[in-house]
Amino acid sequence: MITLNKVIYRYSMADSEKSANLEEVMHFNLEIAKGERVVVVGPSGAGKSTLLNLIAGFIQPTSGEIILNHQNMANIPPGKRPVSMLFQENNLFEHLTVAQNVALGIKPSLKLSREEKQEVIDILSKVGLEKEVKRYPHQLSGGQKQRIALARSLIQHRPILLLDEPFSALDQALRFEMLDLVNHICEAFSLTLMMVSHYLDASLQQFNRCIVINDGTVIFNDEPAALYQPANQTVAELLRLKG
């Protein structure tokens, strides 16, 4: 489903102290099967978001293949990839209603047929917000906003869902509730999920697989429980996991 084959991403970073440009290199090799739910963790700045941006197509790799649905998409624009992605914030357009925000996933022109309008309501009911169609994002709570963004990515019918710390701004209880919802949705729609998280608690166990990234490369790729095995002590120490 998602294969990253010798993907190299070079970028230059301005170093304010030396006032010079430092070149950094990241390289990824990765294989994720259809329907898997993967959590991506690692220190900040390690390259977690870069990995997601490469898969979504917001940045292009210097070399290597990004194979999505058996097709190399390394140079395909984001709108033509089988991928939808959500961010920590700014997922909704504030001056559009809930229904309009979701409808953008069907047609950017917002001119929907009757069936398509019904589809919007149906998908909103899947995330429990069918009553809020006429409201605006600023009238909603943080959790509700993310549910609507989720509804929009569902209506796009794209088999890969990427989440870049989408629930980090929510409180603990709500975060677990949202994770349940995501798991449920991924199963119902048979989606492949990759989610960046900075939480290393019980939520890890909700995923089939955990990928740890450090210094622009994958240093651990196994099921979450394996993190606590003695063989992976260095990784656990890097993440400051408590056994």
Partner: protein, 531 residues
């Protein structure tokens, strides 16, 4: 209660301002009262003037805004090395002396301008006269469009990169993205910007005088000037009254819409751009090139023509005198502006701190009163009272210092008002504990903390006065005996009006302005860093 000691500086400044404006206005009114029949001046000419004034201002505003939106959009699509420099230049052309704008426009689009020369080289003969409505519009667009453009650009750049990423994932076209994401953000800024441009074009003087090409295209401001020159003083008063009413209405109107212009210009590095097709890229580069040429060509033309025309023999005594007068008058009016604004804001900050909102607002209205009263009205008022002294250089210089100082006041108040209040509030308790007050408070707290801002304000007031061509147009005309005051803009206007080459004069004025703008920019950067 607010102690009288804190009220005194502001009261003093406010009284001075009211006195000056009051004297000028009442001299106009008394004169009108004594002369009687005003009705004869409410003729077709008056309405024609009003119509033309509104028409050219409306067209200038519309075209400037449209060009600004297109150019701002184009700028968000591509990155290039000199982009930040270009944006800086764009935010500064707004403050170029209007006669520099006139010279630059003539140098490019005039009969012997660069455009005509290039067309001639290609075998085309271009016979478009720059004088008339087209010249006025061109100059007004040149003056205002870059300023509006960089405002819009910062608004567009404030769109969160997440939303741009979502847009490209949702397959938005550039048109849809503009309609759904960018337009709603621009819309909030559109009306205040348009009103500002409209107001400036409405009371435009030098550009219309130099490029209007006769009485067919005249504005109220120019008509006042011509009425005074023809000694039709009563007509001048009617026109001045009309101008006053129009500006008052515009100000009331703009205050109504200006409530929420609190823009949060965040400089978050943008890390994503919507994908651009090859055709889109070509169109973008094409528009960008035209825009950059339009902005830079007149400035470059002044520099090149100035250097090309330079002869030592052109450094005449009149030019030297003009430079000297300009610098003295600009220095004087910058001091007046800074002094008045510091006195007003000293009291204002303390009133705000004591929660006396109404008194603070009244004080600020007095400071901004000059916005409503164009310098031509002010000058004509003084002209009537002090007509006998109109040939005394010392008196004319003093009058210009006061008029220019007052004209710059609202702009400087806008720069200093919030920082002055913030710094007073921030150290209010500390200053009380350490018993720092009065002059010592100013020298220890305001002066040291806000030094870059004070330099900016001073240079800004200096620049505005340096480029002013309003009051001097009235009083400079009396130079029969050759001992009268001339400033650089006046000298330049004389040369343009007599179809002489003003290249060297224009270059001098431009270089002085650029030097001031560099000082302003340096201190702005310095201030932003220390904040």
């Amino acid at each position: 209660m607010v102690p009288i000691k804190t009220l005194l500086p502001g009261m003093f400044a406010a009284t001075t301002i009211l006195l000056i404006i009051g004297v000028a206005l009442s001299s106009l009114l008394i004169f009108a009262w004594h002369t009687g029949n005003i009705a004869i001046y409410f003729d077709a000419y008056l309405w024609h003037t009003l119509q033309i004034t509104c028409l050219q201002a409306a067209l200038s505003t519309l075209l400037s805004i449209l060009a600004a939106i297109v150019m701002a959009k184009v700028l968000t699509l591509v990155d290039f090395r000199a982009k930040s420099l270009l944006l800086k230049i764009m935010s500064l052309t707004f403050f170029l002396p209007s006669l520099i704008v006139v010279t630059g426009i003539i140098a490019i689009y005039g009969q012997h301008g660069w455009l005509a020369k290039i067309c001639h080289w290609f075998g085309l003969d271009l016979h478009i006269s720059i004088y008339g409505l087209q010249g006025i519009l061109l100059a007004h667009i040149f003056l205002n469009f870059p300023y509006a453009c960089q405002l819009f650009y910062h608004t567009l750049m404030a769109v969160p990169s997440e939303q741009k990423k979502l847009a490209s994932q949702l397959n938005f076209s550039h048109y849809i993205f503009f309609k759904i994401v960018e337009w709603p953000r621009l819309k909030r800024q559109l009306l205040p910007t348009a009103l500002l441009i409209f107001m400036l074009c409405f009371s435009s003087f030098a550009i219309v005088l130099a490029l209007g090409g006769g009485p067919k295209y005249t504005t109220i401001e120019v008509a006042i000037y011509q009425a005074i020159r023809d000694f039709e003083l009563l007509q001048a008063i009617v026109l001045a009254g009309l101008q006053l009413i129009c500006l008052f209405l515009l100000l009331v109107f703009s205050n109504k819409f200006n409530k929420n212009s609190g823009l949060n210009i965040s400089s978050v590095p943008d890390d994503y751009k919507l994908p651009l097709s090859i055709l889109g890229y070509v169109v973008t580069i094409f528009i960008l090139t035209i825009g950059v040429l339009f902005i830079l060509a007149p400035i470059v033309a002044i520099i090149v023509d100035g250097i090309y025309a330079f002869r030592w023999s052109l450094l005449t005594v009149p030019l030297g005198l003009a430079i000297l007068y300009s610098l003295i008058i600009a220095l004087g009016s910058a001091i007046v502006t800074l002094l008045l604004s510091l006195l007003l804001l000293w009291t204002n900050s303390r009133l705000l701190l004591k929660n006396c909102l109404r008194s603070s607002r009244n004080l600020m209205i007095v400071g901004n009163l000059v916005l409503m009263i164009p310098s031509m009205v002010l000058a004509s008022g003084f002209f009537l009272i002090f007509f006998p002294y109109a040939e005394d250089p010392l008196f004319v210089s003093l009058l210009m210092i006061i008029c220019n100082g007052l004209t710059a006041l609202p702009f400087i108040l806008r720069v200093l008002e919030i920082p002055m209040y913030d710094i007073t509030r921030q150290y209010s308790h500390l200053a009380q504990l350490l018993k720092i007050s009065g002059w010592r408070h100013f020298s220890i707290i305001e002066y040291r903390a806000l030094k870059p801002l004070l330099v900016i304000s001073f240079s800004f007031a200096f620049l505005l006065s340096l480029g002013d061509f309003g009051v001097i147009a009235l009083f400079g005309e009396q130079s029969i005996n050759g001992y009268s005051v001339t400033t650089l803009p006046y000298y330049l206007y004389e040369q343009i009006a007599h179809y002489q080459s003003g290249a060297v004069t224009a270059l001098t004025l431009l270089l002085l302005s650029i030097a001031l703008m560099i000082i302003i920019d340096r201190n702005r950067t310095h201030y932003d860093h220390t904040k």
